[in-house]
Amino acid sequence: MSASIEITNVTKRYGALTVLSDISLAISAGEFIVFLGPSGCGKSTLLRMIAGLEDVTEGTISVDGVRVDTLPPGKRGVAMVFQSYALYPHMTVAQNMSFGLENIGVAKAEIEKRVRFAADTLEIAHLLDRKPQKLSGGQRQRVAIGRAIVKEPKAFLFDEPLSNLDAALRGRTRLELAQLHGRLGSTMVFVTHDQVEAMTLADRIVIMQDRRIEQIGTPMEVYRRPATRFVAAFVGSPAMNFIPIRDAVMNGDRLSIDTAGLGTVSVPLHLPPGFSPEGAELGIRAEDVSVAAAGAPGIALTAEVIERLGDRTLIYGHLEDGTKMTVEADGRNATRPGDRLTIVLDTSALHLFDKTGAAHHPEGD
């Protein structure tokens, strides 16, 4: 069972403080949606508003075409997995999973069948008679998911469910969640501040910041064509390089951009209408900057800090005018701090951000 979710013009205020302002979002049935953003951006609040744990100040929320923001949490047909798992400490695993079904009067045999199915799916059948404090973190996490599965909800809501697991377990659980989504085909809404989780799990990512949605898109769209400077800076590691520009003029069908750090760069981009170079920046990811052979034409960079990651090497340095720049080189690169390098940019991967933060990308990609 899966359902679409429509969030229409939703605003959340605590007294005079606005936490979310005029949010609209349509989630298709069966979609895996991730809310991504820094802490305090309102992503958890939005999820909790779908669940009914926070009041909706203005606007409406519908599940499967039926308005639910008028209903109490239990009647909305959604299930939630909490960051702390929130298992009932005094109940066994089986009781934890059946509590919600008992509340709506599901027949005993049916409850048993669903608990059995969920336990088998999650490989926790041998834990059914244990109490939560006898379980490991990973096992608790599975029980929390199992408690959601048995309800056969219209949508699953996950509030940072992986953040209490250690790194290895987090990676494995991530994969299993993806598999679970494939198997159940349910609508899932997942909140995280971890971009790796967002990139690997999501059909579409909703990037939020400062009460608003910055961009909605597939992981590759968000990465390759960030809608705003914030998205460009937030997604991707290491963070995108930003170079202030002095002037930009059309030169044939390419845009000729003058910068202090890089000199003049020619980009396959049309000058956006009403564009002003004041406060605008060029952006380029470290992976789109490469180290050229010594003596080749290019831009000079002085290396400051070298991070060797094994498969690749990150070189943090500065340009002639002092602009900071990160370059990705291959794992065998032997640069040392203080070395002067020549770098080359992939101009088709340059992004232009105007003063408001709005992005302009080269065609294609």
Binding site: A51, G52, L53, P72, P73, G74, K75, V78, A79, M80, F82, Q83, S84, Y85, A86, L87, Y88, P89, H90, F99, G100, N103, I104, R147, K151
Partner: protein
């Protein structure tokens, strides 16, 4: 402080040896009156008539305790105390748990204001309301009844305050999960929150029981008929004809007998009582 090669301890002035010895000495002073009364209780009244210094000599007897068994009155008072203390404990637990849960977890109009007003109730001493209460209970003929003895302390705000603190300590996600599991507010309270606060219920329950058992002021005014006395009042009443009819040994035995229930409760539930007194006042 010492020159020996001992492992370093950070809190070197607290809990060090000399202080501990002084505390031990104070504890002897503390116990002396108790030892004295226990000593008196196991001497026959005839021996004590010759002078109480005979306490330090044989023979000893348990005759005074056997006499208590024959005095039906003490047992009646004991039973009254039991009914009143249990009734009050049950009432306080029910009222405080319901109210504490709502104040800690639910939202309703005027919640904050009501909570502040209830907290204000903590500052009202019994003496400020005693005259009016006595009149009210007179109107309804509640004096010299169990209900009359149980009711007044149910209004104490202490339990509500304590339970609110305990409910607040439970992670909020647990009741949110139950809310999403389509449980009604009362079902969440009954099936989830109440079981999770059992240790807190024990703490408040034992505290209330002891308080009710020891209460002196209200039963003194309300229970004027001898057969409705609580043990506390009963013992006080037999003190007034002090050392005349019953004798020192018998009165001592009565005191020891009356303090046994609370001391046993205290020994078993010491931890809960300490939690209640320190949790209620600090923080």
């Amino acid at each position: 402080m010492s020159t020996e090669n001992t492992t370093y301890r950070p809190e070197s002035l607290t809990a060090n040896r000399p202080l501990l010895w002084i505390a031990a000495f104070l504890s002897i002073l503390m116990m002396a009156p108790v030892a004295w009364i226990v000593g008196l209780s196991i001497k026959s009244n005839q021996d004590l008539m010759l002078g109480t210094e005979t306490v330090f000599q044989l023979p000893y007897t348990i005759a005074n305790y056997i006499n208590i068994l024959h005095s039906s009155q003490a047992f009646g008072w004991f039973f009254n105390s039991l009914v009143v203390a249990c009734g009050q404990t049950l009432g306080v637990l029910v009222l405080s748990s319901l109210a504490g849960y709502a104040f800690a977890r639910l939202e309703f109009p005027w919640r904050r204001t009501l909570f502040v007003i209830v907290l204000f109730g903590l500052a009202v001493p019994e003496q400020a309301v005693i005259i009016a209460r006595h009149q009210m209970f007179n109107w309804f003929g509640l004096h010299n009844s169990y209900i009359g003895l149980i009711l007044p302390n149910l209004s104490s705000a202490f339990g509500v305050f304590l339970m609110t603190q305990f409910f607040r300590a439970i992670p909020k996600e647990i009741d949110e999960a139950a809310l999403l599991d389509n449980a009604s507010q009362f079902r969440i309270f009954w099936k989830i929150m109440l079981p999770l606060t059992l240790p807190a219920q024990a703490t408040l329950g034992i505290f209330t029981f002891l308080y009710a058992w020891n209460d002196y002021w209200w039963p003194l005014i309300s229970a004027t008929r001898k057969e409705m006395f609580t043990l506390t009042i009963g013992i006080a009443s037999s003190q007034t004809n002090f050392a005349q009819s019953e004798g020192l040994g018998f009165l001592s035995a009565q005191a020891v007998f009356a303090s046994l229930p609370v001391l046993i409760v205290y020994l078993i539930f010491q931890r809960h009582i300490v939690t209640a007194v320190s949790g209620g006042a600090v923080k």
